[in-house]
Symmetry: C2
Amino acid sequence: MREDYKRVALIGLGLIASSMAHAMRRAGMKSEIVGTARTEKTREEARQIGFCHRVVETAAEAVQGADLVVLAVPVGAMGQVAREIGPELAPGATVTDVGSVKRHVIRAVKPHLPDTVHFIPGHPLAGTEHSGPAAGFAELFDNRWCLLVPDEETDAEALARLTAYWQALGSNVETMDADHHDLVLAVTSHAPHLIAYTMVGVADDLERVTDSEVIKFSAAGFRDFTRIAASDPTMWRDVFLTNKDATLEILGRFTEELFALQRAIRTGDGEMLFDYFTRTRAIRRGIIEAGQDTPAPDFGRIRKT
Amino acid sequence: MREDYKRVALIGLGLIASSMAHAMRRAGMKSEIVGTARTEKTREEARQIGFCHRVVETAAEAVQGADLVVLAVPVGAMGQVAREIGPELAPGATVTDVGSVKRHVIRAVKPHLPDTVHFIPGHPLAGTEHSGPAAGFAELFDNRWCLLVPDEETDAEALARLTAYWQALGSNVETMDADHHDLVLAVTSHAPHLIAYTMVGVADDLERVTDSEVIKFSAAGFRDFTRIAASDPTMWRDVFLTNKDATLEILGRFTEELFALQRAIRTGDGEMLFDYFTRTRAIRRGIIEAGQDTPAPDFGRIRKT
């Protein structure tokens, strides 16, 4: 039987934390949910929506008596939050986070935490292009992966309990080493986001093609890039600054491949292009078979009659 | 009142042509629909589905007595088809195409057509990642743009009739010059497709991150690239080979911007990254306001309760 946490402190009340609260309620957890956010505007918005039992002013206050503390702030703010809550944490509490980068978060957070707590970094691979407390919804984690990053010293019982918690929120859970996590995410998330931001920036910049043409004619492919290029700017700035090496490595590989394809276009090497474009179809099939995307045309934007 | 074409010949029976047939039926058009495709397999599949009144063996046969002929084959095959049908076209017929590149198609097709027909190149900006006769559906063109590319000599009445035809299929119609078309599409479609193919190719290639990891963890951003990277390889090979200059120009701009962002990551210029990521959000808003995408999170993959 699942043993619910008694009190869960959500530090930061954006898309992820608010979705966690909704999903906890959907799962019928008995935990008291205490939330806090940096700005009064966000706290007030969260109070209005009502997904926390209590919304308090500071992180130090929020963690009082909590047996689970979730750091759900941008990666660049994790260290400062850890410094604030360190002295206030209840012995035996589990501290986790939801940051998109793991090595940097461990380096920034761990030194501020007392030895009496269990620090188990985490990363739910879920999100949408919307942000803020109103963007959350209970289904966000359903059938998505949550990666936990324990180390050799991690308490097995604390890990099992956190795993069960994320499963109750709808996730599949897997553990992974911090460096491997950062490389895998550089490929599946960080590089694609930077590339999408770049393509949208180029389109916005061109003088001979007006914004309105780019917008009107976006259904020809471009619009798929604009969804992820509308993601939260603060969060993504921090991701790139803190997963610098892995992201730059993947971008280097990307540029190399792009140059090879450009050369094939320039020299008219149709066979090379055809083979390349055929190979990439298999990955799409794999993603659909793994239940990580919809096979409906256009992501189901169009309904077949 | 709309004056329907009496007989419409669809040359090529893939996603676009089959969707046109479905949309013509939905619109209650009285036209006889005659189709043909290069392979017997495709012709047989189209016969089974039954969206044409007649499926015939050759393009030359299909255009007999047709007052509208639609070339719906890959861009690289347009010239050969035009050569085959040229001597068979009925005087006064309108010939159009649905290719993603216009300057090349005009160069390849026009010399083979008699002066007695109206050649009005076209391009419906609609498609999905699926291809073949079974992929078509009547709603594909709804609220999407169809670009027509007339020149100074185009007959106004023939143009008005073709415009009304595409409108009846659900499209908004706009006319445009061939070179401008090819540049706009390089930005909104061709470069994004090449970039998506490249990113998916890189992910597939990495040694330290397995394919199965790329697939499992694709919901973190990568999967949005895989949809367009699953598009038809023959069609896209031809697009890049025939819209070489505009595509390479946009890719050059893209690489330049990507290098600037990589430099910002390397030097830790958070302000530059933040500003860039903020600017791109506006484009997304514009696309949603223009009705060219859904504002639902994740393209509506997740239903909010």
